[in-house]
Amino acid sequence: MVGSGTGGPQLPNESGEPDKPTGKPRVKSFSCTACGASVTLRYPGASMSVVCDSCHSVIDVTDENYTILTKYYAKTGAYKPIIPLGTRGKLKDRTWEVIGYIVRSDVKSSYSWEEFLLFNPYYGYRWLVQDHGHWNFVRTIKEKPDEIAGTSWAQLGEKRYKVFNRGQAEVTYVLGEFYWRVVVGSRVYATDYICPPEMLSYEKDDNEVVWSIAEYVQARVIADAFKITIPMQYAIGVGPNQPAPITQSWQTIKLWWMVFLAVLTCAQIALAGMCLNATAFQSNYPFTPNTKATDLTTQVFTLEKGSANVKIVFEAPVDNSWFYVGGELVNDTDGTSYPFEQTVEFYSGSDSDGYWSEGAKSSSLLISAVPAGKYYLNLDTESGDYKDLTPNSFTLTVQRDVTMYANYFLCLFFVSVMPAFVWMMSRQTEVSRWSNSDFSPYPSIPTVSSSSS
């Protein structure tokens, strides 16, 4: 049954037992064994240790002896939890109360992070972990993931997680109450595996291995849930299991990019295969070097295929001289004109570096999408720099439906611009994510001071 929505179900007591008192939780107070100050235990039915607010000793509350677990005098207020103890907040439709606060550090690097113990009497315990401004909602699990031996992967159900860090964590500072006997300075071996937005971790001490799953939570959500009004710590870099939409986009875009490459390539091969590559007309024409001529008209020739390109090739005996053609391709039936101009030039010589040359003895131009039909060419020619003025000749070749490559490479480029950009941004994000890991798959830039081992 759905309850009133604050903690969990709140239903009237129907058993025959005497009425239980309602209202605020029954707290228990006692004198701190170390310093005598009054210590309040908010959940005596569940907590096993509590920290004295005055002297910061950790007290065992499982029996009335109230044995000291850690006699621990730290500066009062050395750490101030951003979510005060006792605050209740609603996360994922359930109400949680912050009952404990732990600061833990990595043994090797002394880098530390905060953990808030959350409690709900119906659902048990959860943790909120804050690290570099990144927040995670953590629950202990009973299922045992499979650490795939010899690899950096662990598997739970269908998901695979990649190892991110291994190390030893030590309890540095505590406030509030806990469901085990906390000892300041106690250590566990911990390993984290990531599969954003989740992190799969285990902690191992002499007695047991405990697995947990963390889910990344935006700092905003935490601030709203617990009504935090003071500014939260700014998130630095990319959290280990912080979801990166750009990386997810890259996966999809990469797939489609390959689809488009395949489509373009197959289309190019197919269309190229269908090209006629036919010579529609070829002829030689005389010209007098270093003069102009404006009276050349070719005979009529036929261009096949509904719509295709026309390649006109000019070959001229240029040698440190040039040959220019200005003309038009004219449709004999309707007079449509396709004007063009082309220069054939070739220069060569010898200097201190040896032989050099520039240009070629033939050059061509391409006219796009010319309809089939009967055509002829009108040509104006001109040449210059000829040393030998004896009349000469040039060759004109008209080719129909030649294979084109320019479109293919141009389209390859257009279709690759966005993927390249997205890939770069994704990689930048992932490199940043893994920069805090000892298991980064990216080559690292050595730094003078390293935050991890």
Binding site: G8, K20, K28, N120, Y122, E143, E208
Partner: protein
């Protein structure tokens, strides 16, 4: 349901299950042992301090498609804490136990299978439990009965000692082996989330 009278104070003592041999009178807290229709007092149950469970005698819930009711409770303590074992009674006379600890709830049923001896079991060890499959040992605890209430299918006197071994299997399967001086018992079952039980008639918790 059988109703008998408490030999100490005369109050009604209900037995929902034929298998129950032990009960605690809810009014005078006498611990009673049942034989057929006879009840005899064997002691008195001292009060429980600091109880924070959301469950109570009479709470009902669902396990899969079957409905059950909590008829009794056994609270056991060990070195690092405690948990509750609730005696669950199903409609078809099936009996089970609902283990409740730190927000984890598991329902298990008695099973018959060869179990290894207590000494061989250590956290991390693998155990084959017949058709139920392979399980891994989570914990081995020496436990002591701290408190009991309602009706129970075993003599749960205060201070009764045993060794309890918790195991987890694939998916959410779990198992418990209880090694007591007089007998060894095996239970196999599953973890389930609180919401999946659809509990009704829960105990009211102050402030929640």
């Amino acid at each position: 349901m059988i109703t008998l009278n408490c030999p100490s104070c005369g109050a009604s003592v209900n037995f929902v299950s034929k298998a129950s041999v032990f009960a605690v009178c809810s009014f005078c807290k006498s611990t009673l042992v049942r034989q057929d229709m006879d009840l005899s007092k064997v002691g008195t149950m001292s009060d429980l301090q600091d109880d924070l469970t959301p469950l109570q005698i009479g709470t009902t819930g669902m396990f899969g498609k079957e409905k059950f009711e909590l008829a009794g409770r056994l609270k056991v303590a060990y070195a690092d804490g405690f948990w509750n074992e609730w005696f669950t009674v199903f409609g078809n006379e099936k009996l089970g136990w609902l283990a409740e600890a730190q927000g984890f709830y598991a329902l298990c049923f008695p099973a018959q299978c060869e179990v290894p001896s207590k000494e061989t079991l250590r956290p991390g060890a693998y155990v084959e439990l017949g058709p139920a499959g392979t399980f891994q040992v989570e914990d081995v605890h020496d436990v002591r009965c701290l408190f009991s209430e309602g009706e129970l299918p075993l003599n749960a006197k205060q201070g009764r000692e045993s060794t309890s071994v918790d195991l987890t299997g694939d998916d959410r399967k779990m198992a418990t082996i209880e090694y007591a001086t007089d007998l060894t018992r095996l239970f196999v079952g599953e973890y389930q989330d609180f919401d999946e039980f659809h509990f009704q008639n829960l105990r009211h918790i102050d402030g929640w």
